[in-house]
Assembly symmetry: C2
Homo-oligomer: 120 residues x 2
Protein backbone atom coordinates (compact mmCIF):
# COMPACT_ATOMS: atom_id res chain seq x y z
CA UNK A 1 0.00 0.00 0.00
CA UNK A 2 2.88 2.36 0.82
CA UNK A 3 3.72 4.44 -2.23
CA UNK A 4 6.43 7.10 -2.56
CA UNK A 5 5.11 9.93 -0.41
CA UNK A 6 5.38 13.59 -1.37
CA UNK A 7 7.99 15.56 0.63
CA UNK A 8 5.42 17.39 2.77
CA UNK A 9 3.69 14.13 3.76
CA UNK A 10 7.08 12.58 4.58
CA UNK A 11 7.93 15.56 6.82
CA UNK A 12 4.61 15.45 8.69
CA UNK A 13 4.80 11.65 9.08
CA UNK A 14 8.31 11.98 10.54
CA UNK A 15 7.00 14.52 13.07
CA UNK A 16 4.05 12.31 14.06
CA UNK A 17 5.96 10.55 16.83
CA UNK A 18 6.99 11.89 20.28
CA UNK A 19 10.35 10.05 20.27
CA UNK A 20 11.31 11.46 16.88
CA UNK A 21 10.33 14.97 18.00
CA UNK A 22 12.42 14.49 21.17
CA UNK A 23 15.40 13.38 19.03
CA UNK A 24 15.09 16.56 16.94
CA UNK A 25 14.87 18.64 20.13
CA UNK A 26 18.04 16.95 21.44
CA UNK A 27 19.85 17.57 18.12
CA UNK A 28 18.89 21.24 18.28
CA UNK A 29 21.43 21.48 21.12
CA UNK A 30 24.18 19.94 18.93
CA UNK A 31 25.22 16.80 17.06
CA UNK A 32 25.01 13.43 18.83
CA UNK A 33 25.79 9.74 18.27
CA UNK A 34 23.10 7.04 18.27
CA UNK A 35 24.22 5.97 21.77
CA UNK A 36 23.87 9.52 23.08
CA UNK A 37 20.46 9.86 21.46
CA UNK A 38 19.26 6.51 22.86
CA UNK A 39 20.29 7.35 26.45
CA UNK A 40 17.25 9.38 27.61
CA UNK A 41 14.78 6.88 26.13
CA UNK A 42 13.90 3.48 27.49
CA UNK A 43 14.43 2.05 24.07
CA UNK A 44 16.74 -0.42 22.35
CA UNK A 45 19.41 0.85 19.96
CA UNK A 46 17.65 -0.81 16.98
CA UNK A 47 14.42 0.98 17.90
CA UNK A 48 16.24 4.33 18.03
CA UNK A 49 18.03 3.51 14.75
CA UNK A 50 14.65 2.91 13.14
CA UNK A 51 13.47 6.36 14.20
CA UNK A 52 16.72 7.87 12.90
CA UNK A 53 16.15 6.22 9.53
CA UNK A 54 12.68 7.81 9.30
CA UNK A 55 14.17 11.21 10.18
CA UNK A 56 17.04 10.75 7.72
CA UNK A 57 14.69 9.75 4.87
CA UNK A 58 12.61 12.86 5.65
CA UNK A 59 15.80 14.95 5.38
CA UNK A 60 15.40 16.18 8.96
CA UNK A 61 18.76 14.81 10.07
CA UNK A 62 22.05 14.13 8.33
CA UNK A 63 24.49 11.44 9.44
CA UNK A 64 28.24 11.56 9.02
CA UNK A 65 29.64 8.73 6.86
CA UNK A 66 33.13 9.25 8.25
CA UNK A 67 33.24 8.49 11.97
CA UNK A 68 32.30 4.99 13.12
CA UNK A 69 29.75 6.45 15.54
CA UNK A 70 28.09 8.24 12.58
CA UNK A 71 27.00 11.29 14.58
CA UNK A 72 23.65 12.85 13.65
CA UNK A 73 23.00 16.51 12.91
CA UNK A 74 19.71 18.39 12.76
CA UNK A 75 18.69 19.52 9.25
CA UNK A 76 15.69 21.77 9.75
CA UNK A 77 15.16 22.89 6.12
CA UNK A 78 12.13 20.62 5.41
CA UNK A 79 10.31 22.23 8.34
CA UNK A 80 10.13 25.48 6.37
CA UNK A 81 7.61 24.03 3.89
CA UNK A 82 5.68 22.35 6.71
CA UNK A 83 5.25 25.62 8.57
CA UNK A 84 4.35 27.45 5.33
CA UNK A 85 1.56 24.97 4.69
CA UNK A 86 0.12 25.29 8.20
CA UNK A 87 0.45 29.10 8.21
CA UNK A 88 -2.25 29.33 5.51
CA UNK A 89 -4.72 28.31 8.20
CA UNK A 90 -3.62 30.82 10.84
CA UNK A 91 -6.62 33.10 10.25
CA UNK A 92 -8.91 30.15 11.00
CA UNK A 93 -7.52 29.26 14.41
CA UNK A 94 -7.14 32.92 15.31
CA UNK A 95 -10.75 33.48 14.26
CA UNK A 96 -11.91 30.64 16.50
CA UNK A 97 -10.08 32.15 19.48
CA UNK A 98 -11.63 35.53 18.60
CA UNK A 99 -15.02 33.89 18.52
CA UNK A 100 -14.39 32.32 21.92
CA UNK A 101 -13.43 35.73 23.27
CA UNK A 102 -16.62 37.31 21.90
CA UNK A 103 -18.64 34.47 23.42
CA UNK A 104 -16.99 34.89 26.85
CA UNK A 105 -17.61 38.66 26.76
CA UNK A 106 -21.28 38.05 25.93
CA UNK A 107 -21.63 35.68 28.88
CA UNK A 108 -20.00 38.27 31.13
CA UNK A 109 -22.36 40.99 29.89
CA UNK A 110 -25.32 38.65 30.31
CA UNK A 111 -24.42 37.73 33.88
CA UNK A 112 -23.80 41.37 34.87
CA UNK A 113 -27.29 42.21 33.51
CA UNK A 114 -28.82 39.71 35.91
CA UNK A 115 -27.28 41.30 39.00
CA UNK A 116 -23.96 41.69 40.75
CA UNK A 117 -21.45 38.86 40.40
CA UNK A 118 -20.73 38.30 44.06
CA UNK A 119 -23.87 38.21 46.16
CA UNK A 120 -23.76 37.57 49.87
Amino acid sequence: MMTQADPLSTTFAALADPTRRAILARLATGGASVNELAEPFEMSLPAVSKHLKVLERAGLITRSREAQSRPCQLHAAPLKDAVSWIEHYRMFWEQSFDRLEIYLKEIEKESSKHGPKHRR
Copy 2:
Protein backbone atom coordinates in the same frame (compact mmCIF):
# COMPACT_ATOMS: atom_id res chain seq x y z
CA MET B 1 1.33 -1.77 18.05
CA MET B 2 -0.90 1.33 17.72
CA THR B 3 -1.28 2.99 21.10
CA GLN B 4 -3.23 6.15 21.93
CA ALA B 5 -1.15 8.87 20.28
CA ASP B 6 -0.50 12.26 21.89
CA PRO B 7 -2.47 15.16 20.33
CA LEU B 8 0.53 16.61 18.49
CA SER B 9 1.38 13.25 16.90
CA THR B 10 -2.26 12.81 15.90
CA THR B 11 -2.27 16.24 14.24
CA PHE B 12 0.96 15.62 12.30
CA ALA B 13 -0.21 12.12 11.26
CA ALA B 14 -3.48 13.60 9.95
CA LEU B 15 -1.50 16.14 7.88
CA ALA B 16 0.80 13.44 6.44
CA ASP B 17 -1.44 12.76 3.45
CA PRO B 18 -2.00 14.90 0.34
CA THR B 19 -5.73 14.02 0.09
CA ARG B 20 -6.35 14.99 3.70
CA ARG B 21 -4.48 18.27 3.20
CA ALA B 22 -6.54 18.92 0.04
CA ILE B 23 -9.75 18.25 2.00
CA LEU B 24 -8.69 20.82 4.62
CA ALA B 25 -7.86 23.31 1.84
CA ARG B 26 -11.33 22.76 0.35
CA LEU B 27 -13.01 23.23 3.75
CA ALA B 28 -11.12 26.50 4.22
CA THR B 29 -13.44 27.89 1.52
CA GLY B 30 -16.55 26.75 3.46
CA GLY B 31 -18.38 23.69 4.79
CA ALA B 32 -19.03 20.76 2.44
CA SER B 33 -20.75 17.37 2.34
CA VAL B 34 -18.85 14.11 1.80
CA ASN B 35 -20.11 14.02 -1.80
CA GLU B 36 -18.85 17.52 -2.48
CA LEU B 37 -15.50 16.66 -0.89
CA ALA B 38 -15.17 13.42 -2.89
CA GLU B 39 -15.86 15.12 -6.25
CA PRO B 40 -12.36 16.46 -7.09
CA PHE B 41 -10.66 13.17 -6.13
CA GLU B 42 -10.66 9.97 -8.10
CA MET B 43 -11.63 8.13 -4.98
CA SER B 44 -14.54 6.09 -3.69
CA LEU B 45 -16.84 7.56 -1.04
CA PRO B 46 -15.66 5.00 1.56
CA ALA B 47 -12.04 6.03 0.91
CA VAL B 48 -12.94 9.71 1.40
CA SER B 49 -14.94 8.82 4.53
CA LYS B 50 -11.88 7.08 5.96
CA HIS B 51 -9.82 10.25 5.47
CA LEU B 52 -12.60 12.29 7.09
CA LYS B 53 -12.55 9.98 10.12
CA VAL B 54 -8.80 10.56 10.55
CA LEU B 55 -9.33 14.32 10.30
CA GLU B 56 -12.28 14.18 12.71
CA ARG B 57 -10.33 12.14 15.28
CA ALA B 58 -7.52 14.69 15.02
CA GLY B 59 -10.05 17.44 15.74
CA LEU B 60 -9.27 19.14 12.41
CA ILE B 61 -12.84 18.91 11.15
CA THR B 62 -16.22 18.81 12.81
CA ARG B 63 -19.26 17.08 11.31
CA SER B 64 -22.85 18.06 11.82
CA ARG B 65 -24.96 15.34 13.46
CA GLU B 66 -28.16 17.01 12.27
CA ALA B 67 -28.38 16.97 8.50
CA GLN B 68 -28.35 13.63 6.70
CA SER B 69 -25.45 14.76 4.52
CA ARG B 70 -23.47 15.53 7.73
CA PRO B 71 -21.59 18.51 6.26
CA CYS B 72 -17.97 18.95 7.40
CA GLN B 73 -16.43 22.13 8.76
CA LEU B 74 -12.77 23.04 9.16
CA HIS B 75 -11.60 23.22 12.79
CA ALA B 76 -8.10 24.67 12.64
CA ALA B 77 -7.39 24.97 16.39
CA PRO B 78 -5.06 21.90 16.62
CA LEU B 79 -2.81 23.48 13.97
CA LYS B 80 -1.84 26.16 16.47
CA ASP B 81 0.17 23.71 18.61
CA ALA B 82 1.65 22.10 15.50
CA VAL B 83 2.95 25.42 14.24
CA SER B 84 4.22 26.36 17.71
CA TRP B 85 6.27 23.16 17.86
CA ILE B 86 7.83 23.71 14.42
CA GLU B 87 8.49 27.41 15.08
CA HIS B 88 11.10 26.46 17.71
CA TYR B 89 13.28 25.31 14.82
CA ARG B 90 12.93 28.42 12.69
CA MET B 91 16.40 29.72 13.59
CA PHE B 92 17.85 26.45 12.28
CA TRP B 93 16.35 26.55 8.81
CA GLU B 94 16.98 30.27 8.56
CA GLN B 95 20.58 29.65 9.59
CA SER B 96 20.99 27.01 6.92
CA PHE B 97 19.72 29.39 4.22
CA ASP B 98 22.09 32.03 5.57
CA ARG B 99 24.92 29.51 5.36
CA LEU B 100 23.96 28.67 1.76
CA GLU B 101 24.01 32.37 0.93
CA ILE B 102 27.48 32.77 2.49
CA TYR B 103 28.68 29.72 0.56
CA LEU B 104 27.32 31.05 -2.75
CA LYS B 105 28.96 34.42 -2.13
CA GLU B 106 32.28 32.69 -1.42
CA ILE B 107 32.05 30.74 -4.68
CA GLU B 108 31.29 33.96 -6.53
CA LYS B 109 34.29 35.73 -4.94
CA GLU B 110 36.50 32.71 -5.69
CA SER B 111 35.48 32.59 -9.36
CA SER B 112 35.96 36.36 -9.81
CA LYS B 113 39.51 35.98 -8.36
CA HIS B 114 40.33 33.48 -11.10
CA GLY B 115 39.38 35.83 -13.89
CA PRO B 116 36.35 37.41 -15.52
CA LYS B 117 33.14 35.39 -15.58
CA HIS B 118 32.41 35.56 -19.28
CA ARG B 119 35.49 34.78 -21.33
CA ARG B 120 35.37 34.64 -25.07
